[in-house]
């Protein structure tokens, strides 16, 4: 059974790591979590990004955050990737299954997955 003692152990481990985590994220992944996004399936998409970014040790350079309605509800779930000095990339009709390619090819590899972007998907 999970106990508060176990949480204390996590705290002790994390307190040494906090300084490392506060580096400015080079890339920011923003998932639309308004009513439209949630209804279209954004919750598992967000969960997949949080899991994969952390499991692959990318949390130091990539932050995953939530936002409200981006205004293109028919394309939800919508995920935007921001990177300093580069144009924003908008992924639409995302699913948890599509997340691993975005993590691998875009977040790690630096090359956006064109076929998932708004320019190449029908509403």
């Amino acid at each position: 059974m999970k106990s508060l003692a176990e949480l204390q152990a996590i705290r002790d481990k994390m307190q040494n790591k906090v300084a490392l985590r506060e580096g400015t994220g080079e890339k920011r992944v923003v998932v639309g979590m308004a009513t439209c996004g949630i209804a279209a399936g954004a919750r598992p998409v967000l969960g997949a990004f949080v899991e994969q970014v952390n499991e692959q040790g990318l949390a130091g350079t990539i932050t995953v955050t939530q936002t409200g309605c981006i205004g293109i509800c028919q394309y939800e779930p919508v995920v935007e990737v921001f990177e300093a000095g580069k144009e924003k990339v908008t992924y639409v009709k995302m699913t948890a299954d599509k997340v691993s390619r975005v993590v691998e090819e875009h977040l790690k590899g630096g090359k956006p997955v064109a076929e998932f972007t708004i320019g190449q998907q029908k509403a």
Binding site: K2, L7, I10, R11, M33, I38, A39, V50, A59, Q66
Partner: protein
Amino acid sequence: MKELSLNLLDIVENSVKAGATLTEMLLEQVGGALTFTVRDNGCGMDEETVRRVTDPFYTTRTTRAVGLGLPLLKLEAEQTGGTLTVQSDTDPVHHGTTVTAVFHTDHIDCPPLGDVVASLITLIQGHPDTDFLFTHRLGEQEVKLDTRELREVLQGVPLDSYEVLQWIEGYLREQYQSINQ
């Protein structure tokens, strides 16, 4: 919405936007009725706004003039023969809003509750600096999470740290498992 847990996630977002420092969520199954309550200490709404919140053509957002969160919850509750009530107060001391939806779970149109744990994790990941008190009463037993207790233990370690989120998920899933046994 496919699951009531998604409505829960959606409605609590309103509380966070209203500046709530504490949002309480209570799910209570009594006989054939599930009562779904979200109570916050946010800024509250005036009477005119409370009257309009279940109108899909009323919204506080600016990207477009449609807001579907509460109207969808109302529709889903009423489709099961249930109700939705919204109480709110803008009093400087006792401000806040309470949304209560009653579902008749034996009605064929009642959506499944779905993955409540995933919704709670999503809320904490998105809003690590606000507090949530979640209680799910199932007969004599209950599943409970109070982020204020966790914050006390964590002493400044953020609630949205991945290790902490994983612990919270395990903590909640274990509570559900022990009830199911």
